[in-house]
């Protein structure tokens, strides 16, 4: 039984009944799920979680909806110790949370699983979203699995792989001539006249809670300890905000003793409204027109930008913006050192980790977790100009020896 009390405005605190609503009628602030934490604390235990399924639903006590049967198996992705990456960056203990290993290969499977469970609870039978790609894949896959129709709205310039990875599930893919922010505005309008579950619009208060499971898993996989510092990619800012909330929730219900985790955020220089506000010590986030290869993070008007900024500041973290060359180098660095192929957002995150390590913000004495949230096969275009066949040879021994002299010496 989900321990939800109400929806509450993050800005002015007004409360609302649990319904497919996402913004406060008074001040337009975003609504958030308000829990009965005493009830959660009285039911949840580490043993109960350990006895649960090997998916996000092992944390159902801390989520805003009861599990659905038969969904895709989402979550409990590997937390990999990354010693070679740490050595390259001059760090000590680094772990990679490899969320490429979800059913549609990104962390968005987590939020969609929660959103669809809640949509069904609300009696909504069509699943929709505004997406920069990963969410489109996740909605299409999960809707197919649930036998529900889906409509995904994406910017028309999206990577071809992300369009194909969506269309293959039978989703209605609507390519919109405009930026993600244009797509988002359109979906906001559509949500008012269609009885659909737009997972990141009218179901967003529930959907966003799914990201907390990245914090829950991290803590459990570290033997119920919090890391010292985490580095998280920032598009809308929701993921960063909710990972922080996830650690806080664990303390609040008694599963962790302390979670003074430093939270740092990673943006692409071509779309860095939150990192810019951080660098300028500003409380105002000015929207930008995105121009970056990291399309999954290309949100110029981030819905949770203010909260991400507050979280980074209050936890002693930092926000960085890395350019496209650094993004590609970041993808290659992670792949070369750890055998994990992340998408452009992962490149942003690894490049930011490198930058923060060089600046001494992320320290060698810290236990660091870096979140790799999507698979590199989705953004092959980004690396295609930079990697390829090492040599092209005739099908002869001589041909190989000529290209690779000395390899017989082992």
């Amino acid at each position: 039984m989900a321990h939800v009390r109400a929806l509450r405005c993050r800005e002015c605190g007004r409360t609302y009944d649990v319904a497919p609503h996402y913004s406060c009628e008074w001040c337009f602030g975003p609504l958030e799920v308000a829990y009965d934490y005493d009830a959660v604390a009285s039911s949840v235990t580490r043993d109960r979680i350990a006895a649960g399924p090997p998916t996000i639903w092992r944390y159902a006590d801390l989520l805003p909806v009861d599990p659905t049967d038969g969904g895709l198996p989402v979550g409990l992705t590997p937390l990999v110790r990354a010693d070679r990456l740490a050595e390259e960056l001059g760090l000590g203990e680094v772990w990679v949370k490899d969320d490429t290993r979800n059913p549609t290969n990104s962390f968005k499977d987590r939020v969609v699983a929660v959103a669809i469970a809640k949509a069904l609870d609300f009696g909504l039978k069509t699943i929709a979203c505004a997406s920069t790609g990963n969410l489109a894949n996740a909605v299409a896959g999960a809707a197919a699995r649930a036998g529900l129709p889906s409509y995904v709205f994406v910017p028309a310039d999206l990577e071809p792989a992300k369009v194909l990875n969506t269309a293959v599930y039978g989703a209605n893919v609507v390519a919109v001539d405009g930026t993600y922010d244009d797509v988002n505005r359109l979906c906001g309008e559509l949500a008012t006249e269609h009885p659909w579950a737009f997972v990141n619009v009218n179901v967003r208060p529930f959907y966003a809670e799914g990201s907390k499971t990245l914090a829950f898993e991290t803590a459990e996989q570290l033997g119920w300890q919090a890391p010292d510092h985490v580095v998280i990619p920032v598009g809308s800012g929701s993921l960063l905000t909710k990972v922080h909330k996830g650690f806080q929730d664990l303390v609040r219900v008694g599963l962790l003793d302390d979670a003074s985790v430093r939270i740092s955020g990673a943006q692409a220089a071509g779309c860095a409204p939150v990192a810019t506000a951080f660098a300028e010590h500003s409380d105002t986030i000015r929207p930008v027109k995105p121009s970056t290869i990291a399309k999954s993070l290309a949100i110029g008007n981030p819905a949770d930008g203010y909260y991400a900024l507050d979280t980074v500041r209050s936890t002693g973290g930092a926000l960085t913006a890395v350019d496209d060359d650094e993004v590609v180098a970041g993808i290659q660095l992670l792949a070369r050192t750890e055998g994990i192929f992340g998408e452009t957002a992962a490149g942003v995150t690894i490049a930011s980790l490198r930058r923060l390590a060089a600046e001494g913000v992320v320290r060698p004495d810290e236990r660091v977790v870096v979140y790799v949230t999507g698979h590199g096969l989705k953004t092959l275009d980004a690396v295609a100009p930079h990697v390829g066949a090492t040599a092209t040879i005739p099908p002869t021994l001589d041909g190989f020896r000529a290209a690779f002299p000395g390899t017989t010496e082992g």
Partner: protein, 91 residues
């Protein structure tokens, strides 16, 4: 300058249900103040205690977010359409 302000659904009860209100002003800020004068109640919904636009209230002039322009100091001309839009969700 005669300006048309588009009112979002959530605020229409303040304007007798109207979706558009005609006001006068030289800037976006003046137009919104005129709106509050004509239909008291708009001010506290759009502006915080310090007089700044609330963080999740977006205002567009001719389809452009005023944060890309000069904010509430953005000039408006005759026939300009100023839209009040709740912040988008998404992401």
């Amino acid at each position: 300058m005669a300006v048309t302000v588009r009112i979002p659904t959530q605020l229409r009860t303040l304007a007798g249900g109207a979706s558009e209100i005609a006001v006068t002003g030289e800037t976006v800020g003046e137009a919104l103040q005129a709106l509050d004068t004509a239909h008291p109640g708009f001010g506290e919904r759009l502006f915080d205690d310090g007089g700044s636009l609330r963080r999740f209230v977006n205002v567009f002039v001719a389809e452009e977010d005023i944060r890309f322009l000069d904010g509430t100091d953005t000039k408006v001309g005759d026939g300009t359409v100023v839209s009040i839009v709740p912040a988008v969700a998404g992401g």
